[in-house]
Point group: C2
Chain length 332, copies 2
């Protein structure tokens, strides 16, 4: 009988979910709105709608199967406790709410209840991407590797000895928040110089802005307001040899490459996978990143570590990654 | 029947070894000279002398026991292959030697042969210290922690999910070589700004020298030549409120604390243990390190991570650490 897992990707706008087998083949997917339920007191209704959506998807399966479990990817998820602690990016607390109310959402237990106690596991998006890469993608058979997710921010999933490194509180792998420049760019976390302020969709936008200020080269990027600039525009400009766009990728690759050299010094992975928007810039990001990583590398690690594009990256990657959690045996 | 392990610590001057049980109790120890055999072609004679020394130690045991295995700690040891690859810090190649000869020493196999195939395992000193801390010391029962060894250089042993992080080539954990200051102090590895050029016995000596240049405070350290200065002298001066000595520890603690904040961001350990010479400076090193680590920490990790002195640190620590390898089940 075919074994199936559900992968659920909880985002601020939508929650996408799908049915996946052990090979990473998808047997249907669907979506419910997250933002339809903006407040904490609407969270139970959100869970009902999500579970109903999953059940509808399952009813559509026209072959015999065993549901092995449900894997969930969500920002700042606590893997060990199966909770989200005050996820203000997903649900808001209102002034009219009871101030003493709990802002801890027991997502794993709440979903488990509606599925007769089936295995439910949750982690953050970058960790899910790493497990997806190991289960279905280019990291199959690797014991030690790192996945870097390049979105609005920068996330990391570190695998050592064949297991995801969660750390003692389940929050390990926050690669976007290692400090790469003391007193550098202000980060959303309140500190300065975090990697993700340089290397991410928003990071490269800041870099373009910096270069426009520092340099006099003509550039098509001088006609685009900061708020409208995205990494695809920068890539397209780079393809037309725009000097600012090329310099922005060179700069981004240097910061990322030097940071990855330190990650290698600590973890010595077999490969590092780049995942997400910026990784789609191809050679513009891979070439400088690889060059500066190797230049910065401690001699014992030189020319050993592969820098690769994620092979599960695509529209279903987040669902795939979340579903992959189910096949892991990593209860604490 | 009591189970015993042999711990062997291979250093440039001496090789110390001892008999240890599962609780970390020692049942005898001994030493052979490493530097008596300075050249590669003397390595077989060295192995014979070491194995003979171990056998003499075993013959002295006056109760029934089972020898479970031999654990070895050596600089830059390759754990997976059980070899040392051109260990020029231990054995020298002579111009008169056959240039095509192998400089790879199969220490694990060579010792195993002399002990009838008993389990023999090798790793580097800092990793051995981490496993010793987990087996006999303050990390007992912890799944995620880091040991920082502060000697002439700085070593690291990272444990995640209850297993030492060796990385794909067994060289992970080189914490002393993360770059903390771009273009900073020249390191023995040929790069600039490595953590160990600031935080180690030699690092703090360089810091004292820098402070003597930058500042005008009177200091007893102004009367000691660079080459004679050691961390004990700096600690004793700090105890007498010497302003340069105090500032040197403050500076060292800042560099270490900020680096550890990044390690926490990646690995989220439950505790970080400081081991070795500099750690003996007590509050002079622990207080600034803790303060700057917490100041630099990403909010989700603040006030969660313990900074502790190693509890196996002492004259037998290296033997204890090496012996602890034997009780691990971590064959690749």
């Amino acid at each position: 009988m075919k074994k199936l897992a559900i992968g659920v990707d909880i985002g601020g706008i939508n929650t996408a979910f799908g049915l996946v087998d052990e090979n990473g083949d998808m047997y249907g997917e669907s979506v419910v709105s997250t933002k339809k339920f903006p407040y904490f007191d609407q969270y139970p209704a959100y869970i009902d709608e999500l579970c109903e959506g999953i059940k509808i998807l399952l009813r559509g399966v026209d072959f015999e199967y065993e549901l092995v479990g449900i894997g969930i990817g969500a920002p700042l998820a606590n893997h060990y406790e199966g909770i989200l602690d005050n996820p203000s990016n997903l649900w808001k607390w209102r002034e009219t709410d009871d101030a003493s109310g709990s802002r801890i959402l027991h997502i794993v237990d709440d979903i488990k209840k509606q599925f007769g106690g089936v295995k439910v596991v949750m982690t953050n998006d970058a960790n899910a991407a790493a497990i997806g890469e190991m289960m279905y993608g280019g990291a199959k058979g690797m014991s030690d590797f790192v996945v870097v997710t390049l979105g609005t921010g920068l996330g990391g999933g570190i695998v050592a000895n064949g297991k995801l490194v969660y750390g003692h509180d389940s929050f390990a792998g926050e690669l976007g928040h290692i400090i790469v420049e003391k007193g550098g760019r202000l980060c959303g976390c309140g500190r300065r110089g975090c990697l993700e302020t340089y290397v991410s969709a928003t990071g490269i936008r800041r870099t373009v802005s910096m270069l426009l200020a520092e340099r006099n080269d003509p550039s098509e990027l001088r006609d685009i307001p900061f708020n409208q600039l995205d990494s695809l525009m920068i890539t397209q400009a780079a393809e037309r040899n725009d000097p600012i766009a090329l310099a922005a990728y060179e700069y981004t690759g240097r910061v990322l490459g030097e940071a990855l050299a330190d990650v290698v010094t600590l973890n010595s992975p077999e490969a590092i996978f780049l995942f997400g928007g910026l990784a789609k810039a191809g050679r513009f990001i891979f070439e400088p990143t690889k060059k500066y990583m190797e230049d910065a590398m401690l001699f014992i690690f030189k020319d050993k570590v592969k820098l690769l594009p994620s092979s599960i990256d695509g529209k279903n990657a987040a669902i795939l990654g979340a579903s992959a959690l189910v096949w892991q045996n990593d209860e604490k």
